[in-house]
Symmetry: C2
Subunit: 360 residues, 2 copies
Amino acid sequence: MPYPDEAEGFQVDGPNSYTQFHKRFFQLKPFGDYDVDVKIEACGICGSDVHTISGGWGSQKFPLCVGHEIVGTAIRVGPKVTLIKEGSRVGVGAQSYSCGECKQCKNDNETYCPVQIMDTYGAEWPETGIVSQGGYSSHVRTHEHWVFPIPDALDSVTVAPMLCAGLTAYSPLVRNGAGPGKKVGIVGLGGIGHFGVMFAKALGAEVWAISRSRAKEADALKLGADGYIATAEEGWEEPHKFSFDLIVNCANSSEGFDLARYLSMMDVHGRWISVGLPEEEGQVIKAQNLISNGVLIGASHLGSRREMLEMLQLAADKGLKGWVEEIAISEEGLKEAMLRMKKGDVHYRFTLTGYEKIFG
Amino acid sequence: MPYPDEAEGFQVDGPNSYTQFHKRFFQLKPFGDYDVDVKIEACGICGSDVHTISGGWGSQKFPLCVGHEIVGTAIRVGPKVTLIKEGSRVGVGAQSYSCGECKQCKNDNETYCPVQIMDTYGAEWPETGIVSQGGYSSHVRTHEHWVFPIPDALDSVTVAPMLCAGLTAYSPLVRNGAGPGKKVGIVGLGGIGHFGVMFAKALGAEVWAISRSRAKEADALKLGADGYIATAEEGWEEPHKFSFDLIVNCANSSEGFDLARYLSMMDVHGRWISVGLPEEEGQVIKAQNLISNGVLIGASHLGSRREMLEMLQLAADKGLKGWVEEIAISEEGLKEAMLRMKKGDVHYRFTLTGYEKIFG
């Protein structure tokens, strides 16, 4: 019996065989006073999973079980846990630990903790050397700060991708003032971007989806976009010069990206915030490119616990759901998902289901 | 008699002979209802003057008289002028016109006007083709919005460089929250940077001067710095990680600049604002470099009229003065100044004086 000392999940052995998943048992970290054991029922497939196991982000600790958009049931809580009730439905996202003591942690900036950040998978617990394993598995064991109650109104399959993709889009929106009277752009209509359009609209902003072709226009409007910009069309930036307060760049690639044209659409001191981590080299930025409108360029990393809870409540209140395709978790299902992710053939997120059948 | 249709000043004929100044008469734009004629008594020498006439910023309209840190007397005001009294002492900075009608102009962002920006020198007035000429001259003719009363407490020689360098440092400080409880860094202790230290301190921030060697440490402390960082020393960034709220980058060159080390000193969502416009190519910036602390990178262009008036009042209230060396305006004086500017041999600004003797 895997629980309580082990979990069972699908691991990859290295980037050369990243579509070959092996069902194995692996060790969980020792159960701590603040830990919660989560029996998983669904998990979204994030672009990070593919970047990580296919080697796009450099070397990783293999064998590795990825997955960090986890929904399940809290089946055991440590003696000092106060935030989570045993038996409740909960989520776990991409980060599973920070020091909790520094200025950043105490200031709702725990995803920027300079002392210790543990990713949900692939991070080594210092005291034991155990490498954290993700949600393509039966269970995760997570500190309560990083376990989030899921409102009843949200179903597990469509809320799963909000745990990483959703929060990644939500945090830069609220931190950079998306709301009534603001013109907000979302570049890249993928897993993160589709949440970006949805949440920016829910927050009250005027929302423009920005994509290469018009292929996703109908979807964008259905997601709540007020307008659509296709960057394959000549002069696409002209009608928007000096007008955007915020653009969240969710593009997964920076290839052929003419940043100066995007930046020319920003109003004075507008913010251009990137949340994707493309595998390519970065872009040359000169102060001259930023000076005509005093634009600010930044990047955003996940979001705080407080933002996660706010986002889930917003989704519950407004009836927002991720647009997902379900894939049954298995060697074959995961292989198919990885191949389709690499091609960008997903609208707009996969959620793995069928956990009960595979793990019992 | 040059006035009122002409001014007399020192022009350069091109980048190949940028240290050879020729005293000539040139035409002023037609006097408008909102114009003010300023009889010049002093003018600071800005790095922009050198970049412009030596060809570092690309082609310019020659022959050209530069100079945009101008102090003098308003000797004639147009019939609709309400902001400036004839006979009063006034300043003119680097910009001399914007549309005045757009959202940006009406919102204290006139230095980012997307419709029309006229620099004090080298810009062509659309209706006449006359090219604006700067303050190495007897007079300038300027729209009242761009003419600033100088408080009596400030003397002309030391206030002159505040009209461009001072404002360039002041605007990003106030726009990005420099004040009590904030840790502010100033990179590059030149003309702009020395004002950066002075104003950041006057605004109540904890101020760190950041320079290559310790050569300017004593000056920095005298200017008001609370601390000093010498980037030639090993591990210079280590004690400051995740601590700066704002760094204003006043460096005039980006050569050998390891931006990632500077950015590692920023607190979460801290701002790195560049005000210099180096002649070199820009830097490659990857989202990965910005994500560990969610830092924002931007640039700032001059400052609004409102900020100019606030800055001059702050200087008057606190007894702040630019640190200047006087040079008598003449062919020889200007040549010497340009050669010393190119070498960076100035502490911290030149002000041209002796106008009465040369222009009568």
